[in-house]
């Protein structure tokens, strides 16, 4: 028996890095990542509410941070994360109800989630900028 067997690195089963990314797998991990991102956004929501409850000066500070260019970039990213998680979540609820498991349906709903998330994010910002005047 070769004595190198114990030293040899044992073969591992194929892991995610050797697979070509697919819409299904990318949306699956995207739903989880956006969920974690939205957890951070939820903390910002509470900070924002506490600032509003504290008074006009504190609220103005938080609004100033949100209105800054970096605040707007983060808010735009947060908006996209929200709509992706919302649409992805509705897709999951449909699956949980037992529908949409055919391969064609899975890809159709997947692209629908991507298109709807982008469209809703753009629509939200266009309307918001229109309201701001």
């Amino acid at each position: 028996m070769p004595n190198s067997t114990t030293e040899r690195t044992r073969p591992l089963s194929p892991n995610i890095q050797i697979y070509r990314p697919q819409l299904t797998s990318v949306l699956s991990i995207a739903n989880r990542i956006t969920g974690v991102v939205l957890s951070v956004c939820a903390v910002v929501l509470v900070v924002w509410l506490i600032a509003a409850a504290t008074g006009p000066q504190t609220y103005a500070v938080v609004q100033g941070v949100i209105a800054s260019w970096i605040g707007q970039v983060v808010l735009f990213g947060g908006t996209f994360a929200f709509f992706l998680h919302l649409c992805g979540g509705i897709r999951h609820l449909v699956w949980d109800a037992g529908y949409g498991f055919a391969l064609r349906s899975i890809y159709a709903s997947g692209w629908a989630v991507v298109v709807a998330s982008v469209a809703l994010t753009v629509a939200a910002w266009v309307v918001s900028l229109f309201v701001a005047g």
């Binding site: 974690v36 929501l45 509410l49 409850a53 919302l86 918001s128 309201v131």
Partner: protein
Amino acid sequence: MDRQRTRSPLARAMGLGSAREGVEHWWMERVSAVALVPLTLWFVASIIAHTGSDYATFTAWLRTPLASILMILLLIALFYHTALGLLVVIEDYVHSGAKFAAHVAVRLGCFALATAGIVAAFRIAVGG
């Protein structure tokens, strides 16, 4: 989808899941998700409608009974859903002793944040 139907006949008879709470965790994540669909859409639409509003206009809106109620319901559903989701993420990726600390931090953190948000919304509502 009755959650009872997702359990084995024996588990249903005994009233237990595999670890007694796995199905409940899964189920409540879905229930809170259903609540969050209208609540978050209401919130985002309201924020868009208040783009550029000053402090007085914004708090006047949050003081209305409907806005106060929906904001508090949003905070409850949001942090419940956040806790359930983050706990699963931790269970999947953290296998060291940090898992225990992370679990406690998520549970206590979400509870504290929900409470802080609800108190803030309530104080705005009563003009405190």
